[in-house]
Symmetry: D2
Subunit: 141 residues, 4 copies
């Protein structure tokens, strides 16, 4: 029985407690099931860039977190190696952003994801694509 | 005389003071001249992900900041519309990361940049490519 | 009335006749309606790379064609400025590949697309994301 | 002695003869040494898109070929898994395009490249970034 056949206990809440950077920014993990994860953040005054709108770094980190939980969701440690992000609309202080990561392909060593970041009004704020390398080691719990 | 012909006073320090998200993360603007910008951060305990290494969101924000200062460095407001990031090596708490953004092409409305993020030992931590849309309005000072 | 308000007559077949590179590779335009386009190709012996499987350049050109018809489908000339492609599975000689491009966001000057390339068996061969610059001129008919 | 320690005989010319798609498009391999490769093509009437300029699919295939030779140049079979391309300037029939791929990072399983595509006049036509998966098997000779 290989590692990938083993029943795994993926504990997203335990990972989230150790994900200090995302947690301190106010990013929550809403859902994390095999092949899919959802994260959320409310844009605060501390999150703005020099134009007074939500910093792309926050939007990215929100999407990257969804990607990270989704690619680790099978209980096998995986690392993002490549991401592409398109910025489609600005977000303002007070907006709630939700990122949904979906696995679109998975082989022995490589998995691919798409992430949509939407505002409460349904507008797409950003679209990410990401590639993860599957290490083969269990996700540290 | 069009805006793009006007002598401009690009004040990176003024922008940096208003770039609350990047500033609060400890990101400094080291240099910002037309077509080029350099940013720097020391990785702290508050910057780690659930594997205990530097969060990709910090590396991204550092690179994105260099990109943002470089694309606004001509004094014309520009917005990142598209970024691609390759993660090449991990960074640890205590590492100092430097991001250097270089303009590789510029037309009337679109400009392109490459950003290298390196550790103090010279290792490439991440490589970014980014596209900016040039709004034609002066950078807000 | 601006150009973007004008009723347009987008003639995909006329464009396809002039799209010599794609046409000579055997790429067909199956559908092109506002915000969406579908292209198709059968992988032939002349399409292989040095490993004997479908060359990434053919898969890319197929996806890029779908992107190009989708972003010009509103009758306003648009040019791809940025694309990202993830290769998920190989395709063999004899496989029929279908690329479907979908508009995910559109502003005055910038529009974004995702393209899925699938084999007949439904396997995702590649996923593309692309950004187009909207010139504001009518698509040449 | 692991495969990566073995002296390898990387025969770019042999690969190029089997790279039917690129060869038929008129793409030549100018140079291929460990970590670097150069390809070249003259834009012909058969290479244009519906706007009468060089098709992005040709520019991509030229850059992808340089990437492919560079990532296989160590004699270990490697496959592109992810590419990002920025289009910076158009190319016309008669232009000679040269793509230079440079390895910017390499670990046990993943390697990263940047590719510049330039016209004879030195203008950057496109900039690519790509990630390759290193299979560990020798490049088929």
């Amino acid at each position: 029985m290989s590692v990938s056949d083993m029943p795994v206990a993926f504990d997203a809440a335990a990972l989230a407690r150790r994900d200090i950077f995302a947690r301190d920014l106010g990013i929550e993990v809403v859902e994390a099931v095999p092949g899919r994860a959802v994260t959320r953040v409310r844009v605060e005054a501390r999150h703005v860039n020099f134009n007074g709108v939500c910093h792309g770094g926050l939007t990215f980190t929100l999407a990257d977190a969804a990607f990270g939980y989704a690619c680790n969701s099978h209980g096998i440690m995986s690392a993002g190696i490549d991401v592409h992000m398109m910025y489609n609309a600005a977000a303002q202080v007070g907006d709630v952003l939700t990122a949904t990561a979906t696995e679109i392909a998975r082989s022995a060593r490589i998995a691919n994801y798409r992430v949509d970041v939407v505002r409460t009004d349904g507008t797409l704020v950003a679209g990410m694509s990401g590639t993860a390398f599957i290490t083969g080691k269990p996700t540290a719990a």
